[in-house]
Amino acid sequence: MRYSGFKVITQGLFGNRGWKSAWRDPAPKAEYDAVIIGGGGHGLATAYYLARNHGLTNIAVLEKGYLGSGNIGRNTTIVRANYFLPGNSEFYSHSMKLWEGLEADLNYNVMHSQRGLINLFHSDGQRDAFARRGNAMINQGDDAILLDRDGVREVLPYLDFDNTRFPIYGGLLHPRGGTARHDAVAWGYARAADRRGVDLIQNCEVTGIDIDGGRVTGVQTTRGAIRAKKVGLVVAGRSSQVAAMAGLRLPIESHILQAFVTEGLKPVIDHVISFGMGHFYISQSDKGGLVFGGDLDFYASYAARGNLPMVEHVMEAGMTLMPMIGRARVLRSWGGIMDMTPDGSPIIDRTPVDGLFLDAGWNYGGFKAVPASGWCMAHLMATGESHPVARRFRLNRFATGHLLDEEGTGSQHNLH
């Protein structure tokens, strides 16, 4: 059923009893042409684009819980295309273009709000680095404006401009950057994939990967065995656990990232603000809550909750930057499991097992990548070749030295 304003009115006239389920709940078949392990943002997008771009509809998404119960279900919702390195720059630029056409393509409101994103800088050196980044963004065909101190003051008058530890020298403004409603992205992709015939199988945990002669033949699940010649691993923080079922060890360490939401407030923060030096970033959702976070807890963890030292650090950073939020009450906090790589950049590649593909290593930056990740993973699974904008996301790049180290911090998983 197509969604439209007309439908809202006509359905409303009949007591809203005519709405259909957004997607079917089929039992898994014994065999599919391709199976995607992981029903999160990236997995659902991959399934959608396999159907849309490559005509592969005899496929299934296997999700161990309910669709979108992983990191897509709880994140800080930022969408941006302000990466610097070749390899990353073109990928996120492609993703942004997909975001801009997404609601029309999916026939679903994902509340994509291009409200503008500002990265603050606090020294001459940082200003030069951000100018360089802005130029790289413009060369990529995207948008960047370098604001000086007065320029930042004009758009963000509520920041503490008297701060002497991290004086505000200016900011890099990315006007097309912003936010989107994360659940809607999962549901939009799920519904759109289902409408094209993709089977979405929930409460179906993969317990084994069947391999014969170096080639994948299917998976074992809590809902039975499923044969497939192509299997995609799209499980983010649990990548190592699922890859181990295929006898693979990955360059991934799973870490905790905490994030926070306050009670609903009147509109007060109109942009996404990134205070890199303080390890703090913030925006305001359409419901009014301030959505903010900081850095990793820095130790490997699968607990899906963090510890109080980082909570305190994030609150300190927020108060340092914008004391006005001090009275807001934090409603909830959570921790997600982040698949950290040695260079902080992702992997979309074949694996040493034929027919087994990997989409992982998004660190904590996976949300903005959902459309392009799905697009490129679908391209890889369907054609066997990397999509041009994802061709550098190789699994073996840590061995060959072709690192994509945006942060420039070296080969330690928790430094990105």
Binding site: N307, P342, A399, N414
Partner: protein, 87 residues
Amino acid sequence: MRLTCPFCGSRDRREFYYYGATEYLNRPAAGATDADVDDHLHNRDNLAGVVQDLWYHEQGCSAWLRVTRNTVTHEILSVDAVAGGAK
């Protein structure tokens, strides 16, 4: 989260710097292949359960510590000095 440093006693997590898995201690031998070095530096078991990591008592005695802990529950099972200890 607190760690009991064998030299300093029970201390807040903030005194320590987490480096990574104790795999870092198993440096490849002189004639190792590129694959061995890559595996040592980058690939990890990354277990959900009991693991061993390297922590550095940065704001205390500067000892390198081997911490045995559970990555699902955050329970700390033991903290031993790396120096002079078995691998």
